[in-house]
């Protein structure tokens, strides 16, 4: 069996499992097995046309599958697959965000004071 490690944000869509074991011959089959067991994961891992989302990194043991045979990469028993959403950002465009936009995005549920100034 191949072990798939689920990152913390996706566990809520995998019945709170940190790892899921699947029987598969390739990374693609393993991921298909994963979303078959936990269908709610599909939209978080794949685009509507069935491609892995660009920010979803998939590692077989310590290797990025993009530099192997991608989803066709063969897996063996006791291999482990890690799903790792990317981490990036920075202050680059912070000044482009107006204060009003910050208010709207940061406090969407806060009581608005009046319809005139808080549309």
């Amino acid at each position: 069996m191949t072990k798939i490690h689920i990152p913390t944000p996706l566990r809520q869509y995998a019945d709170k499992h940190a790892t899921v074991e699947v029987k598969a011959g390739t990374v693609g089959e393993a991921l298909t097995g994963l979303v078959s067991k936990h269908p709610d994961l599909r939209r978080h891992l794949y685009t509507e046309d069935g491609k892995l989302r660009a920010f979803v990194n998939v590692y077989l043991n310590d290797e990025d599958i993009r530099y192997l045979q991608k989803e066709g990469t063969a897996v063996k028993d006791n291999d482990s697959i890690s799903i790792v959403p990317s981490i990036a950002g920075g202050s680059q465009d912070i000044d482009e965000l107006s204060n009003l936009r910050i208010f709207e995005l940061s406090y969407p549920r806060r009581m608005r004071c009046c319809p005139a100034c808080c549309r």
Binding site: P9, A88, G89, G90, I94, I102
Partner: protein, 143 residues
């Protein structure tokens, strides 16, 4: 709410001072229970954005795989991330939101002004998917 020890809180702020004028970045590990995340350790990461390190950061996913594995061995999960904003405010930028994908995790930002750590704020990435995600202000309790 994010609970973090004084030691780890000081460590992430010091990291921002050490990498100034570049952005620092790292991982928060611990446990999560509902909306509360407790940080029990932090892991420094390298910033791979060598093309624009003063206003961008990126963590090598291979480093994340290692940190995730080492945390798992200690019984810790990844509960959030931190980075610094050199000479910029401790609030999230459009780039921070666009490139944030760990829903339900904390994103801690420290402003570093002229090499000295200033404000540290935390934001929870909330929502049920990429199209609905948003940052919410999050209380930080230093314990």
């Amino acid at each position: 709410m994010l609970k973090i020890s004084q030691k780890e809180y000081a460590a992430i702020r010091r990291h921002g001072e050490e990498t100034y004028p570049h952005e620092c970045c790292g991982v928060l590990l611990g446990s999560a229970d509902g909306d509360e995340r407790v940080v029990t350790s932090t892991a420094r990461c390298g910033n791979t954005r060598v093309d624009s390190p003063h206003n961008r950061y990126h963590i090598d996913p291979k480093e994340l795989v290692r940190i995730q594995r080492e945390g798992r061995d200690r019984g810790e999960d990844i509960v959030g991330f931190y980075h610094s904003h050199p000479d910029h405010p401790a609030r999230w930028s459009p780039t921070d939101l666009e490139e944030a994908h760990w829903l339900g995790c904390s994103y801690v930002i420290t402003s570093v002004s002229k090499g000295k750590a200033d404000l540290t704020n935390s934001f929870e990435l909330a929502g049920d998917g990429e199209s609905q995600k948003k940052f919410l202000d999050e209380q930080v309790q230093v314990v």
